[in-house]
């Protein structure tokens, strides 16, 4: 797997500059050094050529999810995309995410995501935790297997690239009807918590709008944390919603998936973009 990093050299960048009213791709050229990532190049442009270039970034370690952009047309973290992994002969295009309102240049207004998150009832322990089975002297007892299952979704760094690429949001602009993949995995991680006492499936189906997802898996493809959003979160939750609401056999047996969990208080509808 070891490889020799290509030397730096001159690279061309086309960075989208503009605001809500107008904008265009602007050409920049810069000297690069080995192992440089797109964010390094963009910041070097900012430092030396375009000091008012708006770009949101923070950790530069692929952990905070701030520097999401569309690089050569594909949503990626600028800090995790090496220049030498992109075709050398062509200019590298860097554009803002398209599913959210633009603020300026590469910075978008992602506040809608935070409004959606506020709608989701936080983890609330079951009311009747059993001593020795669920808790011991106040400590939760949880299997590592449950932890691993939840952990996949809790790896999410909230870069919102899955939201950016989701056609329900990006193309159909149905932000007021679908929470988007990010919050499907958020709800999945809560629903899979063995000690969570909230029945979340109505919210997943109704305000969350999981039925709108037609499993094209675009979200999974762009996830920088390699979370299997569609296969491990959305599809199982679609199945649970169907079981809970429509499976006559389970109903007769009285064994719907969220039996014993408490329905959360009614909440306002899906936030507008």
């Amino acid at each position: 797997m070891s490889e020799t990093l290509t030397a730096g050299g001159t690279r061309k960048l086309q960075i989208w500059r503009g605001d809500l009213t107008s904008g265009e791709l602007v050409d920049y050229e810069l000297e690069t050094e080995p192992g440089m990532v797109v964010l390094d190049a963009v910041l070097e442009v900012q430092r030396s050529q375009a000091p008012d270039l708006a770009v949101r970034w923070n950790c530069k370690a692929a952990k905070c999810g701030s520097c999401s952009a569309e690089i050569n047309g594909k949503p990626r973290l600028m800090c995790k995309t090496r220049l030498d992994h992109l075709p050398a002969e062509e200019p590298i295009t860097v554009e803002p995410m398209r599913a959210f309102p633009l603020i300026r240049d590469l910075v978008t207004d992602v506040s809608w995501n935070y409004r959606v998150n506020e709608q989701i009832t936080p983890f609330t322990p079951r009311e009747n935790l059993r001593e020795g089975i669920d808790v011991k002297d106040g400590d939760f007892l949880i299997d590592q297997a449950d932890t691993d299952r939840m952990s996949e979704f809790r790896k999410c760094i909230e870069c919102f690239m899955c939201q950016d690429v989701c056609h329900i949001l990006r193309d159909h602009r149905m932000h007021n009807r679908y929470y988007g993949p990010r919050f499907m995995i958020r709800m999945a991680s809560l629903d899979m918590h063995p000690l969570d006492g909230v029945d979340r499936l109505d919210q997943v189906a109704d305000e969350g709008g999981i039925g709108l997802c037609n499993i094209t898996k675009c979200c999974t493809e762009v996830c920088p944390e390699n979370i299997h959003i569609t296969d491990n979160a959305i599809i199982p939750m679609k199945e649970r919603v169907v079981d809970q609401r429509h499976d006559p056999f389970l109903k007769i047996l009285g064994r719907t998936p969220n039996k014993g969990r408490v329905k959360p208080p009614a909440r306002s509808s899906t936030p507008e973009l």
Binding site: M1, S2, E3, L5, E33, P34, G35, M36, V37, D40, Q46, P51, D52, L53, A54, V55, R56, W57, N58, C59, K60, A61, A62, K63, C64, G65, S66, K80, R82, I103, R104, V107, D109, V110, S111, Y114, N117, E118, P122, F123, P125, K136, G138, D139, F140, L141, I142, D143, Q144, T147, M150, S151, R154, K155, I157, E158, S189, L190, H193, D196
Partner: protein, 579 residues
Amino acid sequence: MAGSIEHHDYDVLVLGSGGSGLRAAIAAAEAGARTGLVCKSLLGKAHTVMAEGGLAASLGNVAPEDSWSTHFQDTMFGGKYLNNWRMAELHAREAPDRARELEHWGAVFDRTPDRRMSQRAFGGHTYKRLVHIGDRTGLEMIRTLQDRTVHSDVDVFMETTITRLIKDGERVVGCFGYRRQTGEQISFSARALILATGGSGRIYKITSNSQDCTGDGYALAYEAGAEMVDMEFVQFHPTGMVYPPGVAGLLVTEAVRGEGGILRNALGERFMEKYDPKRMELSTRDVVARSIYTEVKEGRGTPHGGAYLDVSHLDSDYVRRKLPSMYDQFLELAGVDITREPMQVGPTCHYFMGGIKVDADTGQTRVPGLFATGEASGGMNGANRLGGNSLGDLLVFGRRAGIGAAEAAGRSDAVSLPAEEIAAAQAEVDHFLNGPGTENPFHMHRELQTIMGDGVGIFRDKEGLSTAIAKLETLQDRVGNLKAPSNRLDYNPGWQLCREVHNMLTVSLMIARAALMREESRGGHSRLDHTGYSDYWGEHNIVIHRESGHDMALTPTPVVKREELSELIEARKEAEKAA
């Protein structure tokens, strides 16, 4: 003019949305205070997300013989006995409850076979003590606290930069800043204000710190009259990436060594045998960082100027499960498969032991109305911080500061912002935008980083420090001449950096001057011209404050001790001597 800007009033206002700020906001809101939270970035993006290894708490799930007193002793030994004893005590006593509480709020941690929170080994900790989830413990914590915060009654102001604390007479009554997205000015009045602004790693070029870590809280508190303590102690994490250059400094978690990673030099020698045969790779961070630095300096470094850190002898599935981010990080950014070949690592600026001097129990600074917590505050870690103690610190003292501030706010009358103070704050931000200045903040930041790297790095001496101070002082003459290269208001990075460079320069001067004063080597402070411990300095912290003429005053001050803890301290010192 002041009347026309956006204004908010709170009982408690928290600046900073990392672990300590979130925990403080939750505590203040729970105590019934009207609480606001200001973040420089978006919520959930603060530097805490980068914490990897774990949270130190003597739960005893893996090592039943562990106890708060051993954790206290480890912390004091790691800090070379310069810690505020009371802070180290409170931290060790309360961290287990804070960890359990986090789990009750929905945090998910790795498990033991009997299904409780698992704990891993870390440098300087006698027992396996770090609660963790893979190598992304900080993200788990911040996401849990973030959700708790947004479902508490806390108002959150994202992408809002605070440039000045506002005082009315002797007390802090609020602050002033602007919204980054629009440049619109904003002011807050608050009966109590908590600084939870983290550290200042960006004063070095090679750092594991986020862009946001520019020492804002240190400078704001200092300018408001608070005292600073232990600023000479900067932690260089032993293992940052050294290659490729674009990612130099990026953190390689201590969990790599906690899980069994081995350090070797270019000759294949396991060199920690020379420096700390007892603890080896899991020695304290100051020792491991100096050891790697010395190996490289003496010509035994790797091709890219570091040491080899190897986990290829461990089961590859285990490595991918326990260290998934590290596996990805090296594969993606360096083209190295760590399950098959060694990493190359070297020291990187990681953490500030020093900070704003506070009362251990409440986080109160000496300035009425002003509190501090987390990395922004000093005292807990002494001369060197043990890995895992910062995540505990955030929770224990974040909560305490939140409660302390809420109580102080409850005792306080309503406050208002003096118009002339607001006008002065407005003039400052306007000066950076429209003034006659000619200094480019991007360039001055680079100069500052070079000065600090050259003269105030991992090893220091009188000559290098004096030179650095002289250079920093010339920067200080120029800092008033800073001007953003563009004068637009919306999302202007140069404008943002002007005040940040001012803050970083203030912090750099504190560090360099305190480092020059401390004529010994201890913990994170190593002097080539004073290599041993000094009895005098072993009993004194350096406290810094701003005098009325704006001069920086440094005062050696006796360590804050507690009689009832002496026995534990003496026992540990005896045990170390015997070993």
